[in-house]
Structures are given as C-alpha cells and as structure tokens.
C-alpha cells in the first residue's frame, strides 16, 4: 500500500522540531488572566 502523503504542516513541524525557543508566561498571554 502506498504511504500516505505527509501534510505540509506536519512536514514543516518535523523540519522545525529542533527549535530551542522557550516561551514565557508573557508570551502565553497570561495578562488576559490577571486577577
């Protein structure tokens, strides 16, 4: 059976999976949750 073609978004995710960026709570938009 032919292999299913990998969607472009998942192929891109595979290529980019070595990123070392770490996001902070600020980036997460937690300001919206301020008490």
């Amino acid at each position: 059976m032919a292999k299913k073609q990998v969607p472009k978004v998942l192929a891109k995710a595979l290529l980019n999976s070595q990123s070392r960026i770490v996001a902070s709570p600020w980036d997460k938009g937690h300001w919206a949750n301020r008490k």
Binding site: L10, A13, N16, W31
Partner: protein, 172 residues
C-alpha cells in the same frame, strides 16, 4: 487567544471555559489545521506538543514543569508566583527591595517547589511525562489543594490524538 481558566477551587471563571472544553477545542483546531494544510498557519499550543513529540525542544512554560522559576512583580514592588496563579498570601515571595537570596528562601516559594516536586513524582510514571513535565500548576493546583493529584484524562486524550496523527504518517 483562548485560554482555560479556573480559580483556586477548580471552578472556571465566568468568562472562561473548562479545561475539557478547551482541549476539545484544541483537538478540533488540530484536525482542521491538518485538513487545511497551510504552512503559513502556525498554532503555538499545537506546535509545542508536536515539536516535543518529534524530538524537538520547543517548550512553552506550561510544558517546562518549572512553575517555580516564573514570578510576577506587581506595581507596588511585591513579588508573587506566576500570574496564572491566584495573587494570594500563599504565593507571596517578597518584595523587590529584598535581597534575591531572601526571596529564594521564602517559605512560600519553598512550599511551592515542594508541591511541584511531589506532583512531578506522581506524574513520573505517565507515558506523557516527558511531554508535559507534569503541566501547569494553574491546572493542577485545585486538585493539590483538595489533597489529591491531577486528573488529566482529557489532556492525555489530547496527546494521544496528536500522537496517533503523527503515527498515521510514520513520523514517529
């Protein structure tokens, strides 16, 4: 941005949605994202999970298991934990004019670290621990305060669905 949100008793805020509803939303978005298949569309919450499953290191704070390293400095100089947590006395660590070493020794901070570590130990056997590192304290705090441990069945279903999709394309 849509975020789940709940108070320290586990009740969703009036303007917010439950974790279960949020994860259902994420799964729906995930399926649509793969279906539309437009490389210009990037969804951070999904990106984090997929990157980690594929062996990457993109890690949002909620997947770091280090809620203790994020603090909030308020306009009056007070320092509390991450502002995703309630601004209550138990999360007060000190003031900006105190020496950092005193803040690091704050009984509340040390208690928070102990709480996180206990929870991590509980989560250690889970197959998804390497992904979520026990998750965001905001999500499991209500369970901890009730004396239990996090019930993250919905989160596991979310991870399982994403993993299944990656397996479907032989990416894992």
């Amino acid at each position: 941005m849509i975020l789940p949100g709940q108070d320290s008793h586990g009740n969703p805020y009036p303007h917010s949605i439950s974790q279960q509803a949020y994860l259902k939303f994420l799964l729906s978005i995930f399926n649509q994202w793969v279906g539309i298949d437009d490389e210009d569309i990037e969804i951070r919450d999904l990106k984090s999970i997929i990157d980690l499953m594929l062996g990457g290191e993109f890690r949002e704070c909620v997947y770091m298991g280090r809620c203790d390293i994020f603090a909030t400095v308020y306009s009056d100089g007070s320092i509390y934990s991450c502002d995703a947590l309630p601004k209550t006395r138990e999360f007060y660590f000190g003031r900006v004019n105190q020496p950092v070493k005193d803040i690091r020794k704050s009984a509340n901070l040390l208690k928070l670290i102990r709480m996180i570590n206990i929870h991590k130990k509980f989560c250690g056997a889970c197959e998804y621990f390497k992904i979520c590192k026990s998750g965001c304290l905001q999500d499991y705090l209500p369970d901890l305060l009730k004396g239990g441990n996090s019930s993250c069945g919905d989160l596991k279903r979310y991870y399982t669905t994403v993993r299944s999709k990656l397996l479907e394309y032989d990416l894992l």
